[in-house]
């Protein structure tokens, strides 16, 4: 299978303006690398450069990707710079107070237009030659413009728009596909599970402080898939951290290890696992005391409070993950097949008093901050997996994803298909969806029709 990325985008006619030879973007059929029915994964999908490039074209260029939280933008000109896959983007609020997102690359010679992490501006002016763009992405100023040909039109050189933007309860997502399925439909039943974190407070949520960023050796899928499907590692990998967090501080508790729970398995790759045990909460004390549980049960339903609002984990396909009790939302930015840049925000309910917000912040840092006692365990595992996986023999031996095979069902309590808490069901679904995208030409490809 071979295609070229030369079909001009309806929304961004500049994309593909210069047609490329098909041989530059060779796509492979990944069908044999992902055996979702048999529960096996070929390790090349974590290490192969060609597959990584195909992921950029066919997974990241057509999926809804988390960009930022609405609370990061209060006035026109507020901006935040991030990545969609490896594409740098500026997210900003324009003069009409609409959120906009642009490719963060000057249309002239391609340098990163905005190099700050976040801030407020009137214009985005390139530091290289001085091309300057307004908050709506329009090219406003070109130094020495008279030297350009007569037919040079600034309108042709606007910033490249992220054509599809949408928010879900404070979370801003972007999609390079101008005809992307609406975000709410793409999230589907996942919204119910997200609401247990995003909709506890009628005022909504906000992020606190800046973005914590750190690098890990490891393929982005290792982290994204774990947050979708893997409670299994908790008792082993986090044994020492769980001892530290033990509610009484006196010893290991069977309540933690033997907790019942469910795992949500979305057909389009999202996943969430959560205990369904009323005592499975590791909240910071003040946060736990702050919550009015009867009111939350009224608002979200008993099942949401007893399940997804507890100590759980989740991934919105492909690379946005969160931990409700820890108040952590994060993106696993791919940086080549072997590296992840983790960007993590602290999420709190808006109505929380300051001291409760602070308790949530400290609890987040202690558990899943860059040096959090749980976070460090996870990063170590992913890095260890990646560190050896370029060995030829190592790379040729498939990985096992067979736990909970066939256990998915509608349980009448939780929306969509759910499996057991200890299961690889959401992982198998994650890779099934990934393989489906990898094998289908994306919106930007010239399919020869």
């Amino acid at each position: 299978m071979s295609t070229t990325d030369s079909c001009p985008s309806k929304a961004n006619p500049a994309i593909g303006r210069l047609p490329r030879p098909a041989s530059m973007a060779t796509n492979v059929d990944v069908s044999t690398l992902v055996d979702s029915d048999g529960g096996m994964i070929d390790r090349s999908i974590y290490t192969d450069r060609g597959i990584y490039g195909q992921e950029m074209r066919r997974v990241f260029a057509r999926s809804w990707l988390f960009l930022a939280h609405e609370s990061q933008f209060r006035k026109p000109g507020d901006f935040f710079t991030t990545f969609m896959g490896e594409d740098p983007v500026i997210v900003t609020m324009d003069k009409t107070k609409s959120i906009r997102a642009y490719l963060n690359s000057c249309r002239h010679r391609g340098v990163r237009l905005c190099r700050a992490d976040a801030g407020a501006t009137k214009m985005f002016t390139c530091t290289y030659h001085g091309w300057s763009f307004d908050l709506a992405g329009a090219l406003q100023s070109v130094p020495n413009e008279t030297a350009y040909p007569e037919d040079f039109d600034r309108k042709d050189w606007s910033l490249i728009d992220v054509p599809s933007l949408a928010t879900y309860k404070g979370l801003i997502f972007g999609n390079w596909d101008p005809n992307a399925e609406p975000l709410e439909e793409a999230l589907g039943d996942m919204r119910y599970y997200m609401d247990a974190m995003l909709d506890r407070d009628p005022e909504g949520t906000e992020v606190m402080g800046g973005v914590m960023k750190w690098e890990l050796e490891g393929n982005w899928k290792l982290a994204a898939e774990q947050f979708a499907t893997d409670w299994y590692h908790v008792n082993m990998s986090h044994a020492s951290a769980l001892m530290v967090m033990s509610p009484t501080g006196r010893g290991p508790k069977a309540d933690i290890v033997a907790t019942p729970g469910r795992q949500f398995v979305a057909p389009n790759g999202h996943g969430a696992g959560f205990p369904t045990h009323p005592k499975s909460r590791f909240d910071a004390g003040p946060v736990h005391e702050y919550y009015d549980y009867p009111a939350l049960r009224e608002r979200l339903g008993d099942a949401a409070v007893e399940g997804p609002m507890t100590t759980g984990h989740a991934t919105v396909f492909p690379n946005f993950s969160y931990l409700p009790v820890n108040g952590s939302i994060r993106v696993w930015h791919p940086k080549g097949p072997d590296k992840i840049e983790v960007w993590a925000w602290i999420l709190v309910d808006k109505s929380m008093p300051d001291d409760v917000k602070d308790a949530q912040r400290l609890y987040n840092l202690r558990t899943f901050g860059p040096s959090g006692i749980f976070e460090a365990d996870d990063g170590e595992n992913w890095s260890e997996v990646q560190a050896i996986s370029h060995g030829f023999v190592t790379n040729s031996v498939p990985l096992n994803f067979q736990m909970g095979m066939g256990s998915e069902r509608e349980d009448g309590v939780y929306p969509g298909q759910t499996s057991e808490l200890y299961s690889d069901a959401a992982g198998r679904s994650f890779y099934r969806h990934w393989a489906g995208l990898m094998n289908e030409p994306a919106w930007h490809e010239n399919t020869g029709k």
Partner: protein, 115 residues
């Protein structure tokens, strides 16, 4: 109280080592591990780790604790208490007495928790 089983001389189990008395020999139906701890005393626990299938007699004796050789759960040899994850359930204790240089095991005779 059940009858004592004479396990032989204290010199038969080196300090830091353990011996398994099979279930059909000790009468409980479950293997019992007798440990010669680093405090010089002898202790006995059910041999199988309460977490997963593993022999505690194959574990590492440190002071008066034994660490499971498979997942590193630790148990107090004196009380059987699970000291760390991933185990949470105490191991069953059995009384051991040294009498005239011989190690005497009392299967089914629990040791009172003393932690």
């Amino acid at each position: 109280m059940s009858e004592a089983i004479n396990l032989g001389s204290i010199d038969d189990i080196d300090e830091g080592e353990a011996k398994v008395i099979p279930g059909d020999e000790n009468g409980t139906g479950e293997d019992i591990a007798v440990f010669h701890a680093e405090d010089g005393n002898f202790y006995a626990l059910n041999d199988e780790c309460t977490h997963e299938t593993a022999s505690l007699a194959d574990g590492w004796i440190e002071g008066t604790e034994v660490e499971c050789p498979v997942h590193s759960a630790k148990f107090c040899l004196k009380s059987g208490q699970a000291m760390c994850m991933p185990a949470t359930i105490a191991a069953r204790t059995h009384k051991v007495v040294v009498q005239d240089g011989a190690v005497m095991l009392y299967p089914n005779c629990p040791v009172a928790a003393q932690v």
